[in-house]
Point group: C3
Chain length 350, copies 3
């Protein structure tokens, strides 16, 4: 059951809140085949396997907050214990595994370890998701690649110059050195470019933020990796000479690229991407425009990551390079590896 | 060669008669890759493998009742012996396996054991297929699930309440106890519901049979499992208080759901479904209407069975429940298992 | 690395010249996953694997004749040595495998063995590709079958009677004996049919060549197999009694069917097919018409070969027949086998 590629005792985003409607949702997270549904006590998750005849519970329906199997009507409780079935006494029925899930910040968080070990205080604090001063929009992609390849991708933004050449890429990114630091289990890689022209995506954001998009700007990228596999990137441009990252709000366009990267299997993941911004907060149409643009940009990475994964599977013994630009991903992987080893040590001793 | 999931010495439906036209038909039945074609002596079946270069004979054609390989013209006999080939003497050519097949009742029956053991007297007797008092219409589905999951499905109709909620399902089905009996290697599960309202499908049948579909009815389901894997279900509704199953013809709408379930591989099967009825027998349009309706209803089971199969493959060690509602399937599986073991004992002794 | 199904030290067609544009092309040839691109010194081929992070170089682009990785901008040389990367010193970077490729005759030729052993003098001499007296048109198919099944196919044209019945097939082909000879490692199978009517494809060619297509003709097929896996077939018809193959140009329609058969994996290949002709040489529209007709005819073989391959994989122990009509393929396979064994002996001794 223990996987060596991801941390078990941690919260992963399993779904966007809006994905769990009045119907159950089947999804594999961290190699666990689960079904998510809205019970009377909030969202619940159990194995997607009816103990009666093995039917997937995700093909069933929710009635009065209970999950009912769509094959022969067994009613499953949030705790994995069968609650009722027409004409049957279910007390002796076998149980299925139940999981700890929490709905918060517009996402459903899934604890990949034992339910009893789930600790809500370990949920991340997302200021942009709580404050009225921020607006958020995002989406989800399924990618056939190890989730750590996505972490690498997001912690080394020199790829923007190549993969996203027509939107956010520009030559100055890979001509500017970056700096990597680690503090409190957070890896930060930052890059500051001065006196450059904004690329198309940022020109559009400047325009939306009432700034002259033809002016020279200072541009920044501050990538933060948080365990188990979240990357938040502070990005923005300010009119040149106003302090860059520290410029006042009326001189800059800034936002946070939000990435929750959830393992599905050892070679596939769910990618929850989005953008939190502090301008045009009440403009729902702007949220849609940005989501569409960002979705298109992030879609450009899919093919690259999936073919990269195929290459790595074909040549399992080849060692990849770890350059200074890769330092963010390398350090993030080290933090992950250390946690996994600690979990396995505990397990071996237990 | 011996499979542990199905009986060898038995007749299985391999095709509907209409599927075998002037062209050969390639199909896998009971793990045998065969080609069916119309010879001068009726339908024949041989391995789908030309002994010349291994081409599939099903890509060939039928000429004067002979099967001709579509690659280089080898002419194959019904007995698996090459008959002729341009400019070649074929006497010494290797033979391929020939199978016993019989066309009867509008179906092609395939003997899954040795051709020499085939016994036509073991073909089932299907009165509805011979008598002018009955009309029949049906179809075929390919399903990626063990054929026994379909037997389970058909021998426990409580699933109608959930899977077929909008047509034949109704709450009274799983609120009414059923009774299972075994006699002469036939498993029968029956359920009688009294003073209920007919569900939409049966209301339509009542209407077609000139009965007032708003009246209370008695409804019955009598599922009969016959070896090796046929399920015939007597179903119907009668105006309440007229004897139910035994009501006179002018007080009821009744038919037989006909199911021939043929293993393709260990985890897939061909499902021949249909309905035989004694009303509107000469109405070909009615046959089409019923076929379409039944095809839609039975199509609702496909996804459930295929995902159930996936779940069982993922968790091979989990024991499923065997409730009273499952008794029909459980007993049918026992009969099958007993026959398989008898065959294997004979084989080991021989 | 050594495969037992094909020769290593030989030139294979990897692509048609027109397939390599300003973008790189990823393709697997002889089990090697390569990327082809136009460098300043002509077409080059290296492994499709960036030594930085394993990304496929075929998703990159060509700049000033260099192949640039589309992920983070590593610049790869034709020799497999990284040339440059933004802000990096690449001297110590690991290299990837480079391959010998030559562009000639409108094709890209790939040496499947070590680059250092590549010998351009071993390239075939294709007169029809050099001379103005000939015109050529062709295409490429991907086929999921061992490349040797295609050699068998082309060295036994009795299959035309069955697979291509409506175009080039006719009963006289498999009623006429063929003769197989081997000389200088070239296998030739020839068949001459006299006083017959031309089949539809050849009637069209006679018409295009200003001959009366209703007249009796002499028809010939001369299949030549060349190592490692090229088949060239001299085909044509002449008005009967004018010497057949040796008839003067104004009495015949003749062409060469050109087949380069390149292994992709052990059970799949790239099939480069085409036709070289000496009539209507300047008529580009005629080239298109012939290409379309030939493409349709050759497409009829695909399903047969792919299903034949599946049959052979299902029954690996069955021995196929080797009739006189199969002699061309059998002798070709012997030449191939002998070369492979010689290569393996050298390797073992080395």
């Amino acid at each position: 059951m223990t996987s060596s590629t991801f941390i078990r005792n941690a919260w992963y985003v399993a779904a966007q809140s809006g994905e769990i409607t009045d119907k159950p949702l089947g999804r594999t997270i961290c190699n666990e085949k689960i079904v998510l549904f809205r019970s009377l006590d909030g969202i619940a998750a159990v194995e997607d396997f009816c103990p009666h005849r093995g039917a997937p519970l995700s093909l069933g329906f929710v009635q009065d907050g209970s999950l009912v199997c769509g094959y022969h009507g067994l009613e499953m409780g949030c705790n994995g214990k069968p609650q009722a079935m027409p004409l049957q006494r279910v007390q002796g029925f076998p149980c299925i595994k139940a999981y700890a899930v929490v709905e918060k910040y517009g996402f459903v968080w899934f604890w990949a370890g034992d339910k009893d070990d789930a600790d809500e205080s370990l949920l991340p604090h997302l200021e942009w998701a709580e404050s009225d001063e921020w607006a958020y929009g995002g989406g989800i992609y399924h990618i056939n690649a190890d989730y750590r390849l996505m972490i690498d991708n997001l912690m080394d933004l020199t790829h923007e110059t190549y993969v996203h050449a027509s939107s956010i890429g520009q030559k100055e990114i890979d001509e500017t050195t970056s700096k990597t630091t680690i503090k409190n289990e957070v890896v930060t890689l930052e890059r500051h470019m001065e006196n450059i022209y904004a690329p198309p995506f940022w020109q559009k954001c400047m325009h939306l933020n009432h700034l002259d998009s033809e002016q020279l700007v200072d541009r920044w990228q501050r990538c933060h990796f948080h365990l188990p596999s979240n990357v938040h990137i502070e990005v923005g441009v300010a009119l040149a000479g106003n302090g860059g990252y520290h410029a006042p709000d009326d001189k800059k366009a800034a936002s946070i690229v939000v990435d929750f990267i959830t393992p599905e299997t050892d070679t596939s993941h769910w990618y929850f991407w989005g953008m939190a911004r502090r301008f045009g907060v009440d403009d729902a149409n702007l949220t849609d425009v940005i989501r569409e643009g960002q979705g298109k940009i992030f879609g450009e990475d899919l093919d690259m990551l999936e073919q990269q994964q195929q290459n790595l599977l074909k040549y399992p013994d080849r060692k990849l390079l770890m350059l200074n630009i890769d330092a963010g991903g390398v350090q993030a992987r080290k933090l992950i590896e250390r946690k996994i080893q600690a979990e396995q040590t505990v397990q071996a001793e237990g």
